[in-house]
Symmetry: C2
Subunit: 357 residues, 2 copies
């Protein structure tokens, strides 16, 4: 152990050790990346500092690098403050955890709000003047920017774990079992530095999200305290929003299902969040996947207006239960005009999917 | 068959017959019940007529008889139009499909919006002047009213079924199997005139709701058309709202669990619909029941602000799957601050319940 205030070192013996170093933001290794005005947003302090900068300086143009959760949420915040926003994404779509057809709905929402979206472009460097960032350079264009926010993903902080000989999984994160044990007696791990188990693919996965980290921490604590607790795993549920557009996913998307060798059927429907005639009824697009033959549900993606996103929890619950699509389509979901059409959009999607698997 | 336009009769042979007479509103058999200004709301036409009356006449005071779905929804509509509303309910609580502690939250919301709520009072008659209703009389008081709306429940229209010898269930509604067959060859039934199967109590039940009627109709049609379809049944899900207060239930409430002889544990928690710090985070109260010993979930009730009600679908899905509370508490539900606390309120309730069953 090293004391950060005076730099002295000492040894601290332990009976039980929890490795909980979290994840760190990826950096961009390009020329100019250390210019002032380029920010990551990994911690609460990062967010506060960024808000202070935006409130203090007269900014006009913000460039966001990365079109995932962080990029989308930062775009929302800057658009709400009236700034001009450009978003650059290396991949062919924003929200890479969705399939391309669903990601396109998110791009459309971004563009409708005035965000310039550049897909399939690699950031090659940053231009600066007097040490301050002035533009983002991609392999296709130069985007002027007073401020740059990086949202290019995170990686588990495992340097210490690797040196200490903790087993790492294929993902590079610390491997743990369902009680949060690392395999080294007395050493536990939990949170964004560790893997979790994916209940649909039946394999370890690295999906660092706050709600999972929190659950793992609780299970770890109970076990260390002499109790008995298990964390069975996740089904890959996640949600975010951009303005009035809610974005959610669970289970496997098409790319993931293909990579795992599943033969699957897919249905995509468009419906309304509430009865069509009810005030503030909004569009909802639901995509649902199920395994051919068995009919077992594999995953879902939702993009839509207020009230759309949290519907993903119904599919997440069905995935935990290993439900088939022909069972799912009969679910007794809550109906009243302010809440849903007579058939919930999830059930409409399931009916369509049931014809195919 | 009788022609309604000229009163003549004829015989119409059939190969297949669907009995789909729906349900009719209960009437109050008390003096003055035929005065003008007393309305039921069973059909779309009833609703349109009522709106016309409200827009045409200078009304000040409305009395609603019945504190169920219709009563609550009509109270919402009249409050929104600025009318003084009194609601009289025979039972000891409004929303009799909830337990008393959850019903009390609905009463509180009604009173907060200015509705006078009178519980445990029997309507004994109506006062009229020149044939027009002027007041509702209960066993405790006289409530002046320019308009009275009755929401005292419905009953299945089975007179013809009974005369024709269709088997009726204990509930009095037409008994059907999971393919909508009545037991009489070639005769089918579906919708609010018929029973359904309750997947938690494992017994026939009469729960006339639009979404179930619609599903039954579809299954009936497929079967008559030579296809094969089954409607496995319901779990007793229902939802409504009063203003900003959403009200939902599924499965069995305490009274129903007791009547069926279940030994159960119960947990009730209060939390927020979104992260506490996020704008428009609202209160949510979740009550969850599970069977002692097996831990199997039995039901849930939710009362809370926007975003609370549709969460009931997660429990409905779990009930379909026969999920235990210790499985339910680990569900991978969607978290982001605009949508939920880190642990969804349903999971907080499940954690508390898991300690007891």
């Amino acid at each position: 152990m090293r004391r950060l205030d005076d730099g002295t070192s000492y040894r601290e013996p332990f009976d039980q050790l929890v490795y909980a170093t979290g994840a760190g933001p990826r950096r961009l290794e390009v020329p100019g990346a250390d210019a002032q005005g380029i920010y990551g947003v990994a911690t609460l302090a990062d967010g506060l500092r960024l808000r202070e900068v935006v409130e203090r300086e007269r900014l006009e143009r913000v460039a966001i690098v990365g079109g995932g959760y962080i990029g989308i949420e930062m775009a929302e915040a800057f658009v709400a403050r009236g700034l001009a926003v450009a978003l650059v994404e290396l991949g062919p779509q924003v929200m890479g955890t969705l399939d391309p057809d669903m990601g396109a709905l998110v791009s459309a929402a971004l563009r409708e709000a005035g965000v310039e979206v550049y897909l399939g472009e690699r950031v090659t460097g940053f231009q600066a003047a007097s040490g301050r960032v002035r533009a983002v350079e991609t392999d296709r264009r130069t985007l002027p920017a007073d401020l740059v926010v990086l949202g290019v993903g995170v990686q588990p902080r495992t340097e210490l774990a690797a040196r200490a000989g903790l087993p790492l999984g294929e993902s590079g994160a610390v491997r743990i079992d369902d009680r949060m044990r690392t395999g080294i007696p007395g050493v536990w791990a939990a949170g964004d530095c560790a893997e979790t188990f994916h209940l649909v693919s039946r394999r370890p996965a690295y999906i660092p999200l706050g709600t999972t980290a929190n659950k793992q921490g609780r299970v770890c604590g109970i076990n260390i305290g002499g109790g008995y607790a298990r964390f069975p795993g996740v089904v890959g549920t996640a949600i975010t929003k951009f303005g009035q557009t809610e974005i959610a996913r669970t289970g496997l998307n098409e790319r993931e299902a293909q990579a795992l060798g599943f033969e699957y059927g897919v249905a995509r429907i468009e419906d309304r969040t509430r009865a069509r005639y009810y005030p503030d009824s909004a569009r909802i697009v639901v995509k649902l996947l199920a395994e051919k033959g068995s009919g077992r549900l594999l995953g879902a993606q939702i993009v839509g207006g207020p009230g759309a996103g949290k519907r993903i929890d119904v599919v997440a619950t069905a995935l935990h239960a290993g439900m088939r699509v022909d069972e799912f389509m009969h679910l007794d979901l809550a109906y009243a005009p302010p809440f849903s059409p007579v058939w919930d959009p999830l059930l409409i999607a399931a009916r369509k999917l049931a014809e195919q698997v």
